[in-house]
C-alpha cells in the first residue's frame, strides 16, 4: 500500500518535471524567433530611411547620380531577398554603398550644412547600433536555447519533441572573407 503511494508520487513528480522542461524549451525557442524578427524590424527601418536620404542628397550632389543609383539598387535587392544568403549579401552591398556616400559627402559643404541630411546620418548611425544590439540579443537567445537543449536532463525531452541546437547570427564561411575585407568604395 505504502509502496504504491510512493511510486505514484514519484511518477507524478517526474511528469511535472518533464512538463516544466518542455514548457521552458518552448519559451526559449519562441524568444529566439522573436529576436530574429526584431532584426528584420531594424533592417526594414534602415531600408525605409534610404529613399529620404537619396532625396535629400539629390538636390545638392548632382554629380553623384551613379552613387545614388547604386544605393537604390542595393535597397531593392535587400527588400526582395528571400534566402539568408541573399539577405546577407544585399546587406553588405547596402553597407558599402552607404559608406561610399559618407565619403563623397565631404566634398559638398552645402550638403554637410543641411540639417535634414545630418539628422538622417545620425538616424542611420543609430540604426546600425540598434542592429548590433538586436543581433547581440538574438545570439544571447540562441545561446540560452542551445544550453537548454544540450544540458543533461533537458536533452532527453528536447530529443523527444524536436528541439535542436540552433545557429547563431553568424556570417557564413564563404561570406566571411568578403566581409572581413574593408568595404570597397567604388564610384
Amino acid at each position: 500500500m505504502v509502496i504504491t503511494i510512493i511510486v505514484i508520487v514519484v511518477v507524478v513528480v517526474i511528469i511535472l518535471a518533464l512538463i516544466g522542461i518542455y514548457n521552458n524549451l518552448v519559451k526559449l525557442r519562441n524568444n529566439r524567433e522573436n529576436a530574429f524578427a526584431d532584426i528584420d524590424v531594424q533592417l526594414k527601418q534602415r531600408y525605409d530611411l534610404v529613399p529620404q536620404l537619396v532625396a535629400t542628397v539629390k538636390g545638392y550632389a548632382e554629380h553623384e547620380k551613379g552613387l545614388l543609383e547604386t544605393i537604390t539598387a542595393a535597397r531593392s535587392a535587400a527588400m526582395s531577398a528571400t534566402s539568408i544568403d541573399d539577405k546577407i549579401k544585399a546587406d553588405q552591398q547596402m553597407t558599402s554603398a552607404l559608406a561610399g556616400l559618407k565619403v563623397q559627402v565631404e566634398a559638398y559643404p552645402d550638403l554637410k550644412a543641411n540639417q535634414n541630411f545630418m539628422q538622417l546620418q545620425g538616424e542611420l548611425a543609430d540604426i546600425e547600433n540598434k542592429l548590433a544590439a538586436v543581433r547581440r540579443f538574438f545570439n544571447s537567445a540562441t545561446r540560452e536555447l542551445n544550453n537548454a537543449v544540450q544540458t543533461f536532463p533537458n536533452n532527453l525531452v528536447a530529443g523527444m519533441f524536436g528541439f535542436h541546437k540552433e545557429a547563431m547570427y553568424e556570417i557564413e564561411a564563404s561570406q566571411r572573407a568578403a566581409v572581413e575585407k574593408a568595404p570597397e568604395i567604388k564610384f
Partner: protein
C-alpha cells in the same frame, strides 16, 4: 562572495521585498505595544504612602487591541499612497525631470540600444539639472522603472563611459534591486516619522503627568528620569531596527553584481571603470541631503550632512569602495 546568476538574484530580491512587507506591520504593532506600556504605567501607594509603579498587562493589552486596527489601517493607507506615488516622490525630492528623445537623442539612444541588446523593456529616463556627476535607478514595477542621470554626468562622460553607467543602472532594475530598495526606503521613512512623533509624544506626556499624578516631589524627579531613560533606550533599539532593515535590504554584493551585469551588457568593463574614476572625483548631489535616497546613487556621496539616524546608518556603509570596484573591472 559567491556569484549567483541573474535569475537567482531576481528571486532573492523578490523574496526580500515580500519579507520586508510582512515584517513591517509586525514592527509597527510592536512599537504600538511599547507605547501603550509607557502610557499604561500604573501607580499604587504602599503602606508608607510611597508610590509604586507597575505594568498592568491586561489594561495594556486591551488598550493595544483597541488601537491596533486603527493604526494598521492608517499605516496601510500611508503605504498604499507611498507605493502608488513613489516615483513622483523621488522625482520631487531630487528635482528630476523626464528626458525626451528629441531633447537628447544621444542619451536616449544609448539607453534604448542597451535595452534592446538584452531584450528588456525600456524604463523611463529622467534628468537632474545639476553639474555634479551621479546617476541612479528607481522604480518598483514596469510602469515606474526609471533611470535618472545628472546633466553633469551626461556632459562629462564620453559614450563608452556613459554606456557603462547606464548599463549598471539597468542591471539594478533588471535584478529588481530597486524594488527592495524602495520598499525599505518607504518603510524607514514611515518608521522614522512615527518614531519622531512617539518620542515627542512621550516627552510631552511626562511633562504633563508630572503635574497631575505625583504628590511626592522627590519621587517625581526620580521616576521621570528613569522613564525617560527607558524611552530613550527603546528609541535607540528601534533606530537599530531601522538600520538593520536597511542593511537587510541593501548589501554591497548588489553593487558588485550590478557592475558585473553592466559589464556583461556592454561587453566593455573598461568603459565603466573609467566612468567610475571620473565620478569618484566629483560625486555628490549638493542639494539632496537625504541619506536614504543617497543609497540609490552609483557612488555614495560622503559630503551629506548627517542626522543621528544617518550616523548610525553610515556605520554600515552600503556601497563598496570605488577603488575596489575599479580594480575588479580592470582586471580583465
Amino acid at each position: 562572495m559567491t556569484y549567483v546568476g541573474i535569475q537567482t538574484q531576481i528571486a532573492r530580491n523578490n523574496w526580500n521585498s515580500l519579507v520586508l512587507l510582512l515584517m513591517f506591520p509586525c514592527i509597527i504593532l510592536g512599537m504600538l505595544w511599547v507605547f501603550c506600556c509607557i502610557f499604561g504605567v500604573q501607580s499604587t501607594y504602599d503602606t508608607y504612602g510611597n508610590e509604586d509603579f507597575y505594568l498592568d498587562y491586561k489594561i495594556i493589552n486591551d488598550t493595544w487591541l483597541g488601537w491596533a486596527p486603527w493604526v494598521v489601517i492608517i499605516v496601510g493607507i500611508w503605504l498604499i499612497i507611498a507605493y502608488a506615488f513613489n516615483a513622483q516622490m523621488i522625482q520631487h525630492a531630487t528635482g528630476a525631470k523626464p528626458l525626451e528623445r528629441k531633447e537628447n537623442p544621444r542619451v536616449y539612444n544609448l539607453v534604448e540600444n542597451l535595452c534592446m541588446s538584452c531584450g528588456m523593456p525600456m524604463p523611463k529616463v529622467n534628468i537632474i539639472e545639476d553639474p555634479q556627476l551621479n546617476a541612479f535607478a528607481s522604480g518598483i514595477n514596469q510602469k515606474s522603472y526609471t533611470v535618472t542621470l545628472t546633466r553633469g554626468i551626461i556632459d562629462y562622460l564620453d559614450d563608452a563611459e556613459l554606456e557603462g553607467v547606464i548599463a549598471h543602472e539597468l542591471t539594478h532594475i533588471r535584478n529588481r534591486d530597486t524594488r527592495v530598495l524602495i520598499v525599505s526606503i518607504v518603510f524607514v521613512g514611515i518608521l522614522s516619522t512615527v518614531l519622531t512623533v512617539l518620542t515627542r509624544g512621550v516627552l510631552r506626556a511626562f511633562l504633563w503627568s508630572g503635574g497631575s499624578r505625583r504628590s511626592n516631589s522627590k519621587g517625581n524627579g526620580g521616576v521621570a528620569i528613569i522613564v525617560v531613560i527607558v524611552a530613550a533606550i527603546i528609541c535607540a533599539a528601534i533606530a537599530y531596527f531601522l538600520t538593520m532593515l536597511t542593511r537587510f535590504a541593501i548589501s554591497r554584493k548588489r553593487e558588485f553584481m550590478a557592475d558585473a551585469g553592466g559589464a556583461e551588457l556592454t561587453r566593455n568593463p573598461l568603459g565603466l571603470a573609467s566612468a567610475l574614476r571620473k565620478i569618484s572625483a566629483n560625486p555628490g548631489l549638493g542639494h539632496i541631503q537625504r541619506e536614504d535616497i543617497a543609497q540609490l546613487y552609483i557612488i555614495h556621496p560622503k559630503q551629506l550632512t548627517q542626522s543621528f539616524f544617518d550616523k548610525l546608518q553610515s556605520l554600515f556603509s552600503t556601497h563598496p569602495s570605488t577603488e575596489e570596484r575599479i580594480r575588479i573591472l580592470e582586471q580583465f
